[in-house]
Symmetry: C2
Subunit: 345 residues, 2 copies
Amino acid sequence: MFENKERTTVDQLGEFGLINHLISAIKLETDQTLVPAGDDAAIIATKGKDLVVSTDMLVENVHFDVMYTPLKHLGYKAAVVNFSDICAMNAIPSQLTMSMAFSSKYTLEAIEELYSGILLACKKYKVDLVGGDTCTIPQGLVLTGTAMGFGDNNNTTKRAGAKPGDLLCVTGDLGGAYMGLQLLEREKRVFLDNNEMKPDLGSHDYIVGRQLKPEARIDVIEILKNLEIQPTSMIDISDGLSSEVFHLSEASKVDFSIYEDKLPIDQDTFDMAVEFGIDPTTAALNGGEDYELLFTVDQQEYEKLKAHLDITIIGYAKEAGMKNELISKQGNTYELKAQGWKHKQ
Amino acid sequence: MFENKERTTVDQLGEFGLINHLISAIKLETDQTLVPAGDDAAIIATKGKDLVVSTDMLVENVHFDVMYTPLKHLGYKAAVVNFSDICAMNAIPSQLTMSMAFSSKYTLEAIEELYSGILLACKKYKVDLVGGDTCTIPQGLVLTGTAMGFGDNNNTTKRAGAKPGDLLCVTGDLGGAYMGLQLLEREKRVFLDNNEMKPDLGSHDYIVGRQLKPEARIDVIEILKNLEIQPTSMIDISDGLSSEVFHLSEASKVDFSIYEDKLPIDQDTFDMAVEFGIDPTTAALNGGEDYELLFTVDQQEYEKLKAHLDITIIGYAKEAGMKNELISKQGNTYELKAQGWKHKQ
């Protein structure tokens, strides 16, 4: 993608030089982008649809650790977490701006690696990178992405809208990104204790991938469209299922009951949780960064949805004031907490 | 705007708490914003116009010094510099996202002050703040704004488009923000040398205001529309006139001649430049951050423009390959450089 192969400081290029260098690697993915990055602003043709826009920031040592995060993966993730927010509105991401503030420890080659991950995500999701800004800061790396997308008028989906009786559905499986993070953190500690020990990520590609290279469920938005299902509310799972259930609950003014035995947990996630002495249900409820979609549908959609292996009905909405609850495998009812869940009297 | 009056750490609120607290102060300015900040993404109704989007980052000690920058002014500026980019496309800003990464030295009250400046700019420009993210970083303050706006289809203006013979126009006056910065830096040094010396900004409100509280020339976009003038190319002056002339020159594949005696320089800017031993022309050519608009129009628009006191015709476009030049008050020709200008043989 970039031709230079030697270690280059960003100072040698200057800000304009760096921006032009990075922009030269962009290939447009949509014919909607009339003016791409490089002018004062990008211009995007609209077709009477609703514009959906979201912004998300990733900060070194808060959201990621460069010790075990390849920069290309980080760039990919920084783009995808923004796409996921657009999907969570039942819309399709189409444009992205990405600003990068980095310390002098990041060489041009490092920034290129990061950028190639952003562009890879853009290519995969058919999104145009239409702008960005770069600057040096004293310490760390801050990535701020703003994604835009379009949804059919009146067809976009908010957190508010779930009504009592609606089915609560989740895509994919839960807790994997969290267990991947636990594994990466453990191997980092081992490595810091003894530099000669190589990280042993074993055959845990799945959960490590869930942490380092998440995907946005744009495919599910297409599935829902094809099935002619209009979700009544939707959110993406960035902070953990429990936390997101509370967001839907507050916005929609309903409460939810969810069934422990319905929670979709991958075998690798389950095994690693057991190895770490963590209840797999806790990992599924509170582990963040899965970027799956959590949504509600009217009960009448049950027949359309039940055949879809990648969408699981995990519970239902009920009148507000009944508390958000988890019904355990043993049939006991526990009050759900935004972080964690405690035994009910 | 915010009720609490005591010193509060941001940690006490947490990220969700902080975001909810800040969002509660937003009042919508447009009926285009269907879903405001607070969901996964905002939703903006489109009316078949072109969407224009731009992003700009302000970093502590690179773009601003909190020692002499009131945080409310900083928030205002962080919003306005993004609006200015939208205006530079001949479009009207209508939505903004603003992300803030800050160290623990910033209290909740400081963040509120910053935010109140952002909201003040939004109110003045009738722009809706539709999203943002917050996070702590080890050092400094990073503000990343992304502005969106709409322009009439086929009526938006790029850097490319100027043709030989077009008139080169600039709004307002130049060099003021730069001289304001020089004054603030001098008073900072005096203060650092002797803490008992109070900053003497004298009666230089104008140039200090140009630096600390710039405005985007949305009024000029309205004027051009009312005059039925379609600029052939346009850019905003953030890095200095010379630098922007080169951007228009490169994108439009023309060169420019500009007349030194036409450069609009305020008396306060002129006097302060003399006081600092800086050639006022150099301040006008190379001083950044004026956020005025630089644009070209067809010669036939001359009659419509000449009466407008706030728009100055400073030169003209010519065939590429003739070099960008400054014609001095004495009638000598100097080759213009992106930064500075040197005597031609």
